[in-house]
Symmetry: C2
Subunit: 368 residues, 2 copies
């Protein structure tokens, strides 16, 4: 069999995005796909060869930095949120130079923080959240000690899309002289386009690094994560020498690194602009609201009123519901505390998709 035909058979077994209500990734924007193809052969691992692509990355980082209220931001486009968070915490660890370092993160932080703790050999302390699932600042303060190298706040939690009190966390970090890292992998490209956006970014003086992923709400092609530092000096703590490249040092985690994420992220942000992104976010929020209304009509209560386009509904039958839907090739996810089913209403989730989903959901409810 022809290899491309064989590949097609595998590809057909994937569930199409039109039935995925659980992912923080989405179909890339058509302009992202075009840009991606143009940069398919690029490798930012050697910026002396890929000079133009590297220049484009600097332009994109400046653009994202300015959106995050920082003209002198420094950073790069990486493999995704996990690498971005590793690099933020690694920079903090290297910068703070403590023995037996620990970090304080909200209980709601992404599971990858466990990975990060293991990789970087940093103790991960999880602080309690309040009834709105925002981290309690007093709890964070209790957990901080002389060995704490970073306080982490989340702008758009994975489970509920909640935003931690980053303003207060940043003040605490400043007071204590501790690095503050914001995980805005998801919310970083939602919040700036909402009405009356919460100040989660570099306007807070304590914030030294921010994770913000174009391949989530930025509709860029995978892989396109982002790690942005307050200025170049913070990035320096990550550098190693690179003897056989055209550059002298390397601050990235990976060596070879595609330029496709840079090109696709830039293409989307530049062509849509602020107004275009605002429209995308508005539609996602409207569709989230529509789902909430449908679910309320079916007697499901959201865990919290959605802050952005992530929402979960309480039910003891969460796992069973997820399984039954999966059998019908619809993908949702669950959270554990409280027991709930969870939805992410990405740009690929249309009003029609929600309607089709609710029809199937009603049938499933009868059976579980």
């Amino acid at each position: 069999m022809d290899v491309l035909k064989e590949l097609e058979e595998f590809r057909k077994k994937d569930i199409p995005y039109t039935r995925v209500l659980s992912s923080m990734c989405t179909l890339p924007h058509p302009i992202a796909v075009e840009a991606h193809k143009m940069f398919l052969n690029t490798n930012l691992g050697d910026p002396g060869i890929f000079r133009g692509t590297f220049e484009l990355e600097k332009k994109l980082i400046k653009m994202i930095g300015e959106m995050l209220h920082n003209d002198i931001a420094s950073g790069y486009i990486c493999s995704g949120g996990t690498e971005a968070n590793i690099q933020g915490i690694r920079a903090a660890r290297n910068f703070m130079k403590k023995k037996n370092p620990n970090i304080v993160v909200p209980k709601t932080a992404h599971f990858s923080f466990e990975k990060i703790g293991d990789i970087l050999r940093v103790e991960v302390r999880r602080a309690k959240v309040d009834e709105e699932y925002k981290v309690e600042v007093a709890e964070v303060e209790n957990l901080v000690d002389d060995s704490t190298v970073a306080i982490v706040g989340i702008a758009g939690t994975t489970e509920l899309g909640q935003i931690d009190p980053i303003v207060e966390l940043s003040k605490l970090a400043e007071e204590k002289g501790i690095w503050m890292h914001v995980d805005a992998a998801f919310g970083g490209l939602v919040i700036p386009f909402m009405d009356d956006p919460y100040p989660f970014d570099f306007v807070n003086k304590g914030v030294k690094s921010i994770t913000i992923d174009p391949h989530k709400m930025g509709m860029a092609t995978i892989p396109a994560g982002g790690i942005i530092f307050r200025d170049q000096s913070y990035l320096k703590t990550l550098e190693v020498e690179t003897p056989y490249l055209t550059s002298k040092t390397q601050y990235t985690l990976t060596g070879t690194r595609p330029g496709t994420g840079v090109a696709s992220a830039y293409a989307v942000l530049k062509s849509l602009g602020y107004e275009g992104m605002k429209k995308v976010v508005k539609t996602c929020l409207k569709n989230t609201r529509a789902l909430v209304d449908e679910m309320k009509a079916l007697n499901f209560e959201p865990v919290i009123e959605p802050v952005m386009n992530v929402v979960a509904f309480k039910t003891e039958k969460a796992d069973k519901i997820k399984e039954e839907l999966y059998k019908r090739e619809w993908v949702i996810s669950t959270i554990r505390n409280p027991r709930a089913i969870r939805f992410v209403i990405m740009p690929h989730v249309s009003e029609e998709t929600i309607k089709s989903f609710i029809e199937v959901f009603r049938k499933v409810l009868v059976e579980v």
Copy 2:
């Protein structure tokens, strides 16, 4: 200006591969590009959604495992050699459970091992090499102690394409009860296709993990690194729980992860097959030989007679030559010990390219 036009302007500033003699990456094979496009929207971070792509990955890992003389190999396609080496060493560190862990690597190991030491908080001990730039096994033995969690051997060093005495290193690792990791990022897809291949892989009982990158000599699209373990149990040491995904645990370093590298690597290996790959490698070796002949005619001596398609030539003027060539938009690289100019003769480097290069090189020699 139209954003795609703008991107094109940046892309034009990149130096085309036809003038790149320094990179271990190459133009992807045309079949790799086709496969890549087909899997552009896939995300292996959620294998329950991308079931077909995940199945394909398992098939590819089995194929690579068998090539490496191991029917039950386990592993995954990652962002590149650095992630693969991080994961190999991290697995060793977690498996061996030593206080103040160290690893022993050849002096010739890739610079990313410095990064890995920093990231994983593992001491990196560099063992001397002999006059052929192979690590001295006695030196490795001297550096090993009770806290050593891994011995690393290189199959295709970055600077010279040399192969360490992996058979002896593996025996040493077995004797001492230490994890052996082979960095075959480059050589892993060269050596198996050479006449009388050196036994660098799982035939050596001590070898627990191997880095092997399809986006180097496998002509896959970037990113496509590979980390392969002797069996599934070794991979287990990397797992964390993944509450809101369709899977229960995750052993990868990154979360979101493109399926493009899997598809493009599979497409190349499957369509070319053993004979096709042998032909590619043969051509690269022949062209390397052609370059050596041209250089010898110009009174340049190779640091070692090339083992594979990487070669360096001694000269005190290495940096100056590199700079002058770069001004003319030809990219070579240098090594520091001994002072030499270095070439990687990848599939994109044709006989004609070498001829054009030598013409420019002659002119540069007059000036430096």
